[in-house]
């Protein structure tokens, strides 16, 4: 496997959208997920994360390119490897009329997993006390836990989770984060797509960043932060708008956010204080922040996402 749990080369996928318009959502994507540890798949809405995960799982057929998961070509050799993969793509798709336990028992039966394993995974996700309630009465967080429990039934080598903290309360987010980290520490590979960059930063070892269906960066979190992360300086001052204008005149990046001037890749703090003092503006507080995943993500995906232009290219044609 060359130390890689997942390898994708030149993955391409289009969908036909109303009215008969082909939209390419993944374009020549190369992806490498190291075996062991947590790998985050990041990108704005519409960047192709979920479609990519679906292609890795054989649910969606790639138009071009190749995928290898745990050393097996997908989808051709999926039957040989499906027992080693646990996955939840998008929202947990459970049978709403069945209890969480019944859902897990059915999946265990289908996957030839001993029924005793159901109790174990319910314990792992902390859902034993509500396991006999119908899933339709579960909160989104509880459904997410059942879905994660389902992925663990097979004791998988690769766990694929799509937005696992969506809709969870802070305690739920924390629990999922701990669970994901524990799975990786047990030697599994966890591939997780998420918008919660703070959570990802706390648990991920490596990450891939997608924008408009393409890979824009990939590597360890340290590498990504070193290469793409931005230092920020928050300047609390009496007249933030005027101060931002003064700083911008110096050629520095400065914007006002929530009444505070925020500078990206700023000069040394004393230089900022001196320039502002020169025009009669006196700094009340200067706070520097280290490069974080959010700044790296924003830098990498600038101009893409739902607020940007629709993801289209020459391949989008009227059918």
């Amino acid at each position: 496997m060359d130390g890689l749990a997942v390898t994708a080369r030149g993955l391409t996928k289009s969908y036909v959208r109303f009215p008969l318009r082909r939209v390419r959502v993944v374009r020549g994507l190369d992806l490498e997920v190291p075996a062991g540890g947590v790998h985050a798949l990041l990108g704005p809405n519409g960047s192709g994360k979920t479609t990519t995960l679906r292609m890795l799982l054989g649910l969606v057929r790639a138009e071009a390119g190749s995928v290898r998961v745990l050393g097996h070509a997908i989808p051709r050799e999926l039957p040989a490897v499906v027992g080693r993969i646990g996955a939840v793509v998008e929202q947990p798709r459970l049978f709403p009329a069945f209890s969480g336990r019944r859902n897990l028992e059915l999946l265990a039966l289908a996957a030839d997993v001993p029924a005793t394993r159901v109790d174990e995974v319910l314990d792992e996700v902390g859902l034993r006390d509500r396991d006999r309630d119908p899933v339709r009465r579960y909160s989104l967080g509880m459904r997410q836990r059942v879905a994660i429990a389902a992925t663990l039934l097979k004791r998988p080598d690769l766990v694929v989770l799509d937005e696992p903290t969506n809709g969870l309360d802070p305690q739920g987010v924390h629990d999922v984060r701990v669970l994901v980290r524990r799975l990786a520490d047990e030697g599994r590979t966890v591939l997780v797509s998420s918008h919660a960059l703070g959570d990802v930063e706390q648990v991920a070892d490596t990450a891939s960043v997608l924008a408009e269906g393409r890979l824009v960066a990939q590597g360890s979190l340290e590498e990504l932060l070193a290469t793409h992360g931005r230092t920020r300086l928050r300047v609390r001052i009496a007249e933030p708008e005027r101060a931002a204008g003064v700083l911008a005149q110096q050629g520095w990046s400065a914007v006002v956010e929530d009444g505070v001037v925020v500078m990206t890749d700023p000069p040394p703090g004393p230089d900022v204080s001196r320039v502002l003092a020169g025009v009669g503006l006196y700094v009340e507080e200067l706070t520097a922040s280290r490069p974080d995943l959010e700044s790296a993500y924003l830098a990498l995906t600038a101009g893409s996402g739902p607020t940007a232009a629709p993801v289209r290219d020459a391949a989008e044609v009227a059918l």
């Binding site: 679906r54 799982l57 054989g58 649910l59 969606v60 057929r61 999926l78 039957p79 499906v82 993969i85 646990g86 996955a87 939840v88 793509v89 998008e90 929202q91 947990p92 798709r93 459970l94 049978f95 709403p96 009329a97 069945f98 019944r102 059915l106 999946l107 039966l109 289908a110 996957a111 030839d112 879905a147 389902a150 097979k154």
Partner: protein, 327 residues
């Protein structure tokens, strides 16, 4: 039995829609028993009196004018070289006015053939919804991350749909046969041919169960191909209207290919259809005239056509399921 099939059977058993279909089919099947009872019951005093009165009226009318008209017609026929009529035997007879003495075997069991339509509709819906519900809820993707290849998932779901359909057929037959038998027993008309009726009833139940199984599998195949139960029912309705009803009107020889005729042949043991053909003229040697000719479709032929149709739909469903994305 594979784990995935067992899981599907459990899911089939606990689905509310399964029970809804079974309840509706039970009610419809019970109506057959009610109909059988109404036909098998002994005539009331009022009905006997009415029959007697009608007989007396017809005897009087025959004596007054019927006999004379018959004899005149007979004489005219003889004059033209055609055999005359036996008017002495053509008058009203009391036996004709006495209601039949129906037996369970000859008059009760054949009623079960009326259950073919509800069995087909119920099993088709059951099979289609078993599959389309998963596409609708998005749980097919979860399923496929547990079991591969897709053909295995398809087999399990189609088999479960077949089992469900067979259950619909068996239940319908059992309720219909049981209710009819009870009706005949209450009316003390079960005995004539009771022993052979057991075999006939078992045969009818088996044919209904097989019909339900095929319809369930077809429903599942259509569900895989079309993914929405409303679309499945729309296609089924289109088929009935355009192929089952209209096509035979445009081309009478297409009748043996219609599923409705073959269902009747399978359930009833035989079915007939009529085609206009050139046939020898009985009044003129060597000449041909257009006439209605009855053709018979046997149970075996009906069963084979239905099995072939189910195989085709199933194959289409499998190909579509294996080729299409699951989102």
């Amino acid at each position: 039995m594979s784990g995935v099939l067992r899981a599907e059977l459990v899911r089939l058993r606990v689905r509310r829609f399964t029970w809804l279909v079974l309840v509706v089919v039970t009610i419809v099947s019970a109506s057959v028993a009610v109909y059988a009872w109404s036909e098998a019951r002994h005539p009331t005093a009022a009905e006997i009196a009415a029959a007697h009165e009608a007989y007396q009226e017809d005897v009087a009318r025959w004596a007054a004018e019927g006999l004379a008209r018959c004899e005149k017609t007979s004489r005219d026929a003889v004059a033209q070289g055609v055999p005359g009529l036996d008017c002495d035997r053509m008058g009203p007879t009391a036996e004709s006015y006495v209601l039949d003495q129906p037996s369970f075997r000859d008059d009760g069991v054949p009623h079960l053939g009326q259950l073919a339509a509800p069995v087909v509709i119920g099993a088709l819906l059951l099979g289609a919804s078993l599959v389309t519900a998963e596409f609708g809820a998005g749980s097919m993707g979860l399923w496929l991350t547990f079991v591969a290849p897709r053909a295995r998932v398809f087999r399990a779901k189609a088999a479960a749909a077949g089992v469900g359909g067979a259950a619909v057929g068996l239940l319908a037959g059992a309720v219909g046969a049981g209710g009819t038998a009870i009706a005949f027993a209450v009316l003390h008309r079960l005995h004539p041919g009771a022993a052979s009726a057991v075999g006939a009833t078992a045969g009818a139940l088996g044919r209904l169960a097989l019909l339900g199984a095929l319809a369930g599998v077809v429903g599942a195949g259509l569900g895989f191909a079309l993914r929405h139960v409303a679309v499945v029912m729309g296609v089924a309705l289109w088929w009935v209207l355009s192929v089952e009803l209209v096509a035979p009107l445009a081309w009478a020889r297409a009748q043996p290919l219609t599923l409705g005729l073959n269902v009747r042949a399978w359930v009833d043991g035989r079915a007939t259809y009529t085609v206009q053909e050139w046939v020898p003229d009985p009044t003129l040697a060597g000449a041909l005239v257009r006439g209605d000719v009855d053709h018979v479709v046997g149970a075996l032929q009906g069963g084979l056509v239905l099995a072939l149709a189910a195989a085709v739909v199933t194959a289409v469903g499998l190909v579509v399921f294996c080729a299409r994305d699951v989102t």
